[in-house]
Every structure is written in structure tokens, then in C-alpha cells.
Amino acid sequence: MDIILCGGGDIGSAAAETLTLAGESVTLIDPDERRIKFLRENLDISTIEGSASSASVLLSANVANADAVIATTDIDEVNLVICDIAASLGAARTMARIDHSMFFQDEQLDYASVFSVDRLFSPDRVMASGMASWLRNPAAIAIEQFTGNEIELQQLTVDPQAQAVGQRLRSLAMPRGARLAAITRNGMASLPSAEAAVEGGDIVTLVAERKVFPAMRNLFTKGTYGKQSIAISGGSPSAAWLCRFLSDRAFDIRLFEMDRNRAEELGEKLDWVTVINADAADPDVFAEEQLHRVDAFVSMKSDEQNMLACAYARRSGVKNVMPVIRHAEFKPLLKELGIDRVWNPREDAVQAIQRFLHCHEFEQIDGFFNDTLELMRLRVGSQSTLLGQTLATIGDTPPMLVLACEDGDGTPFVPGGDLEINAGRHMIVLTTTQKADEVRKQLDVGGSR
């Protein structure tokens, strides 16, 4: 694929690196001469020095034949204009990085269609949405979000007093758009049958559309958690997104921002949040606000500040500390500080770009099951033997669960038994490790479109 990346900053260069490793041909445009020189020397890409919002620059990158143009500069408006120009010059598909919430939330105007952008993506938003899922589900063991964050997969331990315990699955009233994907008992994961029942202490894997997830989760846990108090250090755009994702009565949020003007701006926009014009990592402020008692401490400033603040918070007794770390190299350091999980907007951005490009005809998703089950993201090929059949008619031959897929216009959903297998459809599929090869073969994974 020929891909034009506009903007050689953090995200642009990280994307360029990943894409070239995957064998794509990348052209990167950036106006900064030194940056261009650095990238040309370090990456296997072609580079153009200049402004990507200039038609002549885009034409010299052969935009008319490009498979995708991705604008990743840190100015939203520039990205929109680049995509608009690229589309009118004949680029096949366009993607723009957007940081400002206005472009997502405006009800008056669909900015994406006005500027001929096929997809808007916001690394901050993606990361914040992931963080919000963790904060909403303190009992979860693992969380994964699929297809534009609309579908969530979680693993959690079943409470012995939960409603679902002891009931057969088929008699359990699960909400529409939700599904029990797997049951892990004594370390053995299995695909559940309709006659199976969960027991207390089992680990269940749940998949559900975002809005019905809480209802689904409450079948397996004891239900409500008390009000959680959350401290956020630093008023970055991702902090604002996080506050928006947590804008209900279940959360009591304090947001610390040092810059007075930014703090006032945030205070105006986020009126359910207590904005404080101080540094949360300052021990005096920490003590005054009694931050050692918060349920979660989120740090969204620079890597160094986040590491220090989270280490201090952890030391002070905060159970759940959530640092944002942009340099993956620092992860081991955090492990030494006792912090296992970090959030990286750069990785999220690259992942979003990859998914947009559909680089992955097939991808195995690790980290949920041991050897017995296999979770994969795949595209159905045109030679699949199952074309035209519905999930209900396929049944157990081969044994597979389709956890999520996209409909014609890209809206993700959790399918029921009436889903028909079509060539080119992207799906998240769970199957047993034994039959994984057979499933891949029957679906003609990686085959032609």
C-alpha cells in the first residue's frame, strides 16, 4: 500500500516506523528540515520537506495514486484541510488526527463529511476511553476495546452471590448486544454451551456493546460499586476526555491544572469536575487534599512528572495509580516502582492507524486465555466455504464465536445467530486452539477480497 503521512511528530514517526516494518511504502511530509533529515536517516521511508496543505507538495508525493493519506500534525484544522485537499486531488482514503472535542461532538455539522475525511481519530480520546473502562470496572482482570471503542471485552471473577450463579446460560436474560464468550474454571478456558452454568470464582469473558455493558456485568458481579473518587494531575486534552467519559454520579473527580487560564477553561467546560489550580504532585497539595484516600490517581503530564507523581501516590497508599507514559522504554522502570499498567497515547494512535488501513488481514490478540482458546481479528476471504451461511446454521462445526463485527457503514456490533458470513467482513472470532487452523482455513483468512 502507498501511504502518505503528513506530519513527522511523535505519532507520525511512530506510525511510519510500524508501517514500514509491516512492509508498506510510506511517504512522509513535514515542513521542518531538521526533522525530515533525521527521519530520512533513521527510517526506510521517502520524505518530502514542505507543507502538506499545499497541493503541489501533495502532488509531488503522488497523492492521486495513494491508498491512504493520514494527517497527524498537532493542529486539528491543518489536518482537516490536508484531508480535504488530498481527497480532491484523488487520494483513495483519508484519516485526520483531531484533538479538539468540538470536531467530534458538534451536533450542527458533521466535520468529517464536510472535509471529506473518512475517519477522524483522536489518540487522546482513545486512550481516555480505555482508562475510563478500567475506572468503571474495578473488578476487571483484563479489558480490551474493539472497533472504535464501541465494543468492550472484559474478564472478571464471578461473585458467588451474583445473579447468574447456578443458572443455565440459556435461561439467563442477557441484554441484546452482549455475549458470554468464555468461562475459565481452574485455569481451563472453554467456549460455553447453552446448558452450561457459571459458578462463583469462575473467570468469565464478557463481550458487549458499550451501552449495555454495565447491565451485562451486573449479572456476574454483586452490582454497584460506591462512589469513586478520582484525582487527575494535569489538564491535557486527554484529561478532558477522561472527565467526559466519567461524567456521571459514580465518580467524584478532582482535576489539578497548574496553568490558571487552562484551569479556568476546563472549569467552564467540565462543570461536574472540581478543577483546582495547583500541582497534585506537590506534597503540600497532596496532603491538603488528602489525595492518599482517592480510589484512583491519574497522571497526565510529561513522562517524568507522571512517573514521579505516580510513585509518590503509590507510596502514599493509593491502590490504583494510572500514569500516561509516551516512551515505551520507561515501562520497566515503572514496574520497579510497583506500577504494572501504563497508558501510551502513541501506541493507541498507531494502532488506530493500523486498523484504519486494515493492515491486519489477521491478528492474534494475546493476553486473555492460555493455550486452550484463541482470540483473533480477521477478514473473511472470498474463497471461504462458509459464505452465505448464518452463525446459527454453522453451529459447532467448526466451533467458533463471532464476538464483534462491523456492518456496511462501519458501525460495530455484537452479532446474533442471524449474522451471515460475507467475503471481506472483518470479525473478532474466538475459537479453540485445536480448531483454530481449521477455522482460519474455512474462513479463507488472508484470501483475496
Partner: protein
Amino acid sequence: MNFRFVCAQWGKLSMLLGTLLAAVGVLFLLIPGEQGVMLDAAELSLLGSGGGAAVAGLIAWMVCKRATLIEVRPISGSSEAVTKPYRMSRRDAALVTTGAWVIGAAIAACPFLMWATLATDVAQDHPFHSVIDCYFEAMSGITTTGATVLSDIESLPRSLLLWRSLIQWLGGLGILVLFVAILPGLGTAAKKLFRIESPGPDPEGVRPTIRQTARRLWMLYLGLTVAQIVLLLSTGMGLFDAANHTFTTLATGGFSTRNASIARPESLSAEIVLIVFMVLAGSNFTVLLAFLKGRWKAALGDTEFRIYLLCLIGGTVFITAALVGHSEPLVLTNGTELAASGGESLRAAAFTVVSQQTTTGYATFDFDIWPFAAKAMIIALMVVGGSAGSTAGGIKVIRIWIALKVLWGELERFFRPDVIRPLKVSGHVIDHEQKLNVMTYVLGTFLLLALGAVIIMALEAETSGCTFTTAATTSLATICTVGPGLDAVGAIRNYGWFTDATKIFLCFLMLAGRLEMFVIFVLFQPRFWRGG
């Protein structure tokens, strides 16, 4: 300061008011009375005062109109001098506004004095023989206070009664708003005048020109007037009473054509019409315009409108409960006693709360003999007043709301000094400058209320044995342009017994209350007069 320019504006205003005066005279001349078409003293005084004011205004304008243009001289001798309109300064605007009201009240007072002098059947001790009493009555009218010096209102000729109501109607929306709406050639000066006369926090952002705004407000005002007259007629009230009461309801003024104020109107439906229109007159006119345009959601979502209604309903419920609990008979302003049944109490409470909070000041019941809790609630609602951008007085609901929110916010800052908690009203952020402005206004009003009470007490204590309750509620009832207070200025009393010095002072308080203080007090700031 450009005094000639200011005088020219006053001249124009004088002509406008004079013409109106004369028009009322002509109207009554053309209506055949019992004596047929005959010029009686009242009509003569209306025509005479009107003509006099118009002529005086014309002279002032002729003399000073050159100041409305300024000559721009060329630097070199080659080109000709050109003239352009004089751009009014803030100081000019402040002086024009205050002067307009002082002069307006004087013009409005002329027919009263002239009538008392000319008419043969007027008693020797009639208040209108006194210049100060006439001026007080006119000022009370034009500022929509509704305090009267008359004890026998019904003996006044109908033409003068109508004039008395009409000046309230004019003063309700503001004489300068009329000025801006009708007279051309003001340009940007119109904006300054408009803002000074109708100050207060203004949530609306983009507006058409100020002239269009003024016209829209007048159209709405006229529309409401016609609607209320028609409705009152349909409830059985006579045309003359309906018109007068409509004029004074919509201005939240409170002058009535009857000695006992409203007392018991013709029917319950008439009372309901009065209540509804008082509520409308005390609402922000931009909210009413939004209703008319069908923007229900925006109108109902307005914070001030909601709190205003909440105050009215809460006050009514509270006072109804107090009256029922008290279980003493209720006394109408005309002396009739009624048992304090639930329905009667509700009727009394609803009318009194609406009338007093919207600063109209009509009375049906003598609330002076009500239990203390009920009276305290009435006083509190008088201080709050109506909505900003209405014809009502008082501190205004929105200001009270902002002030309370600022206070509440300060409590949090005591233990969390760095917290940022923006104050929002109907989705708009109130910035520090506006907060300071509101707090200053509230503090200033309370200071003036206290100072007013003390000064009235000082002026009256020796001569008339005025109680402190009287002095305090007089101060409140004039500054908030309500009219009736408690005790010796209660619902069944009037202001006639005050000494002349007090009446002059009360004129000042009423004007300060109507123009929302600042513009009056800048005249006492020495720097206002110095330089330029």
C-alpha cells in the same frame, strides 16, 4: 461634557412628552362628557402643560441643536470644512438620562398643579396645591413606584387619572427607550442611553441594532397592553378602569383609579388576569419574545425565569400557610372582613406576593395586619424584585442569584483556595468583572436601603412620630419602586403625610431605584465633572 448637546436632547424629550400630554387633553376634549364638548379645567391644564412643555423643548432644541454636529476643519486651506454628528460621551449619556427623568417628572407634574390652581371645585387642603406633592406624585408615577399622596383618588378628573396611569406606562419601559425607538438621528448614542436606562446583566449575545431592539420591546409592550385591556373588558371591568389598570400593571407601577387600590375587583377572573399580567411584566422581555417566537425550550430553560417563578410560587405557598395557620379574619383594603379559609388565603397570598415581588404594589388585602412571618416574606420578595430586562424594580432575581452563588463559592474557597469553579447562568459564564459589578450593586442597594431608612427616620421622627418599621419599609418600597410598605405606609395608607423634605428625598430614592443607582451616583463623583 457637551452641555449644549445634552440640552438639545432634553429639548427633544420635552417636545415628545408635551405632545403626548396635549394628545391626552385632546382625546378627552373629543369624548363628549355629561357637559358635552366643553373645555374643563383638567383638559385645559393638560393642553396648557403639553403646549408649554413642547414649546419650551422646541426653544431648547433650536438654541442648542448646533451642538449635535461638529465641524471638522481641514488642516490646510485647500479643502472645505465638513460637519459630522457629535459622538456622545459616557458622561453626556449619564447626564442626559438622569436629566431626562428629572425633567420628565417635572413635565408630568405640571397638569396636576395647574388643575389644582384652575379648578374651582378643589378643596383648599388638596395635596395638588403643593408643588412638591405634585412632583412626588409624578416621580412616583414615572418611576413606576405607585406611591401616592392622594387619599381621595376617585375625585380626580378622569383625564388626570388617565394621565397619571399613562406616565407609569411610559416610565415602565423607560422614556429613553421610547426616545430611542421613535426619534431618529441618535446613532450610536442610542446604545449608550439604552444601556444606561436598562442596565443589569444581559445574557443575550448577538442582537440587531439598538433601534430595532427598542422597537421590538415597544411592540411587545403594546401587544401586551392591548391583550390585557381586552381580557379585562371580557371579565366585566369598564373600559376606563381596564385601560388604567392595564397601563399600571404592565409598568409594574401600581396606581389604581380607586381609593382602596384594587380591593375586590369585578370578578375572580379579573383578579387572575391582573396576576398573570403582573407576572409577565416582571419577566425578562427577551424571554417573553422567545416565547412568542416559539422558542419554548430556550425560554423555559432561562435560569432567571425559573427562579423568578419559583420565588412567586414558594412565597405564595408560604404565606397561604401562614394565613391559614394564623386563622384571624382577612381584611380587604376597602374594610370588608373575610374568614381566612384556604381558598381566600390562597387568593390573598397569590395576589399580594405577585403584586409585591413584581414591585407593582396593587393591594387587595390589608397585609399590614398579617402575621409577622408573612410580612417578612413579603419584604424579602420586595428586595428580590422582578427579572432583569423587565419593567419591575428591586435588586432583580438574577443579581440575587449570582450574589448567592458567589457567596456559596467563597465558602468553598475558604478551605480550598485554588479551586476553580466558574459561575454559570443559563450556560453563560459570569466573569470576575460581572461578579464584582453584581456584588457592588447588591451592596450599594443594601447601603442605600439602610441609609434611606435612617435619613427618613431623622427627617420624620420629631415631626410625625414615624416608627422605624415605617421608615425602613418606606426606604425599601421607594428604592425597589414597589409603593406600599408596612405600618404607616401600609396597603391602606398613603404617602401624603410625609414632610416636604422627606418627599424630596423619596423622589431621589425612587429615581435611584428606577435607574439602578449607578447613573445617579456618578453625578456625585467629582471626577465626573472635571476635565473634558
